[in-house]
Amino acid sequence: MTAPVLALSAVTRRFGEIEVLHGVDLALQAGEVHALIGENGAGKSTIMKILGGFLQPTTGQVLLDGEPAAYRSGPAAEAAGIVVIHQEFNLVPDLSVAANIFLGREITRGPRLDHKAMADAAAALLARLDTPIRPGALIRDLSVPDRQMVEIAKALSRRARVLIMDEPSAALTRREVESLYAQVDRLRAEGVALLFCSHRLDEVARLADRITVLRDGSVVGRAVRGEMTEDGMATAMVGRELSDIFPAKAASFGDELLRVDHLNVAGAVPVRDATLTLRHGEVLGIAGLVGSGRTELAEAIAGLRRSDGRISVRGAPTQIGSPADAARAGIAYLTEDRKEAGLLLDKPLTQNLTLAALGSFGFRIDAAREAAAMADATRDFDIRAASPDMQAGSLSGGNQQKLLLAKTMLTEPRIVIIDEPTRGIDVGTKQQIYRFVRSLAAEGRGVIVISSELPEVMGLADRVLVMRQGRIAGEVAGDAITEENIVRLAMGVAGGAGGAGSTRQDETRKEPA
């Protein structure tokens, strides 16, 4: 084996009193893809930050080409050829794609920026990534997946020797994921050492030549390609067998709880003529590609977007023109964007928990009752936090999601709409969240789950609506909930196969969009 390009040797890291890494060894080889997997809080981010120069080890060493690394900052690491793509984008919204790619390393001709050279180089990079993004487009006008592609293009332009990616595919559509994988393969062939974190185990199996499993700050497993199945990875991460990740589905449902008739929603992805029903005790899944109008539909029902059409709750027509209207009707919406729309990251946990339900804490906010509510939520939703006074932003992703769930449930909604319930969350916490969702339904509430992860929709929902281009393309229930049926509807391939359950194709699908 050749010497590793970049390695950690017996690295520990402490934050105050707490040691979060215990003597980690890790070696990245040129021309190899290395996956780092583990639950939230296992220490993956800390390792990435140490490799990328953003943090220093407390003891142990970072070795670059076998020598102790000299860089002590992100930019210095980048100069040494080590580039990190963070999960949070590092792009300037008001500058163009080309300007972002060359930010800090602008191509100039004399004192003047060489706009054409930069645009051409950016175009070449984007073409390599097989994405239609224009170099002149402003970042603020791009979708989240497009921004991710720009980040990757930016990293490519830096001629990285070591490329470190944190959840690179989390925000990408299926097609973009494929082009990301192609890029990873190409970079590997060029001799770049790659390290990535992912919660998608199929992706790890597909990409990784070498896998390191972390649990609670220690390496608990190492494998090379083919040695570890996806089940094996999950077991190693969690430290126990994960037999049934999804709870049992409901046997029967109550009366109709929510009815949406011919709802139209204006927007970038207009929703047209959406009709759906939800019964007490039911988990309704909404599947479809990113950009098929799922979130727009949910936000309209939650009063966050203007819509026309009829919404009835328990048979009574209900006007929903604002989030407050929706709250009064007992409808709560858990956003997919928990960092920007779900939680106040710079505020304590308690203030986040009670924000949506403050009305029930008296005109003078009763601090004792707030503290009690926080204690209850911490217990009921298993929120792992050092203190209720810590900032929500310093919780791990899984615990943030549990806090968001607790916050939403504090308003005691009858109808809960959850958008991407487990995005960026580890396997163990996913299982917990699935149990919470099912128990909400078991209490007689109606739950709508929107998800891009098909196994999640299939495992969780009693009935699945599939959206395509702003319309409800069809519905599957019972044994007809199969990947094939859902994908057919989502992609607009006619002739969804029937099964023991039912498949319904919406006639409106055939009208021109």
Binding site: G16, K49, F54, L55, R72, S73, G74, P75, G303, L304, S322, P323, A324, A326, A327, Y333, T335, E340, A341, G342, L343, L344, L345, D346, K347, Q351, L355, A356, L358, G359, F361, F363, R364, I365, A367, K407, T411
Partner: protein, 323 residues
């Protein structure tokens, strides 16, 4: 960790106490009740406005128009009372109507600012830059470029509202203290205050939490307008007149006090008691420079400027491991 946070919270208070001791050492007259009363009463105008400004800034807004608004309200109030005096007489009912007019005018002016920001969706800076010019020009026009003076009989009746009180604790000081306590309570312990902080921290999160973002924003401007009206009510009996130069730069003093007190200019974190401390710091500097002969009082502005910048530097959150 805890020590750093304590310093953040208590820094302005420590500075205030330091200034107080400095003042006492430099000139014994500083501690005389008459002097302290004077300092506090003069602080009350800016103080009342700054308490309201704390709410506006905390929700992520700004109001540049308050100084001009105060001048306009003072002018309008004087005109109302002068016009009423022959009808209702030189008595307290006339003054009460004038007070009501100032308060109502403040509420209305605040509503206009707030509505332009929330309903017409124009940036607060632009809106209040515009209304700042409008109010200033209106009062100059009402005074025809000169000074509007209150009817002399009414002035005699009204004077004690500024100059007397309970012992040396005059009415402006009492009102300022009451508003400060109420403001702190409103910010810290009510849904309104919590919503104001939430909106300033991230208005999208607030909206998604079924907070009526627009209404709460509008309410902060109305509250500020009402407090400008209240400040005007206390200001008019001091000189009994208003002109185009009344309340000049009050908006900047109020904003400075809010910032010195530890409220974040970008919103999300509001400290009413900090604002009160900020107001007192600014007034004490002015007073000490006037009493002591070390530094020319003409340098007052420069020293206040240094304090503002220093306060923000000291309160800046330490960034995590960023190089």
């Amino acid at each position: 960790m805890t020590r750093r946070i304590d310093f953040h919270l208590l820094g302005p208070l420590v500075a205030l106490i330091g200034l107080f001791i400095l003042g006492a050492l430099l000139n014994p007259a500083f501690l005389a009740p008459a002097n302290l009363s004077n300092v506090l009463a003069r602080s009350a105008f800016i103080g009342l406005i700054a308490v309201g400004m704390t709410f506006v800034i905390t929700q992520g807004g700004l109001d540049l128009s308050v100084g001009s608004m105060a001048a306009f309200l003072a002018g309008a109030m004087i005109m109302v009372m002068n016009w009423l005096a022959p009808i209702t007489g030189e008595n307290w009912s006339t003054i009460l109507i004038g007070m009501a007019a100032a308060l109502l005018g403040g509420v209305l002016a605040g509503w206009v600012n707030g509505a332009l920001v929330t309903k017409a969706r124009i940036e607060a800076f632009i809106v209040t830059l515009g209304t700042m010019g409008i109010f200033r020009s209106l009062v100059t026009w009402l005074a025809d470029g000169g000074t509007l003076s209150l009817d002399s009989g009414l002035r005699g009746l009204y004077r004690p509202v500024y100059f007397s009180g309970i012992g040396w604790i005059t009415w402006p000081i009492i009102v300022f203290a009451a508003v400060a306590i109420l403001g702190e309570w409103l910010m810290r312990h009510t849904r309104f205050g919590r919503h104001v902080e939430a909106i300033g921290s991230n208005d999208r999160v607030a909206r998604y939490s079924a907070v009526d973002v627009e209404r709460v924003r509008l309410q902060t401007y109305v509250l500020l307008g009402a407090l400008v009206g209240l400040a005007t009510i206390l200001y008019v009996p001091r000189l009994g007149s208003a002109s185009g130069s009344t309340g000049v730069l009050w908006e900047l003093e109020a904003i400075a006090a809010v910032i010195i007190g530890g409220t974040a200019l970008k919103g999300g974190r509001g400290r009413v008691w900090g604002t009160v401390v900020g107001v007192l710091i600014l007034s004490l500097i002015d007073n000490i420079l006037n009493l002591a002969d070390i530094v020319s009082p003409y340098l007052n502005g420069a020293i206040q400027g240094i304090i503002i910048v220093l306060a923000v530097v000291l309160q800046r959150e330490k960034r995590p491991a960023e190089v």
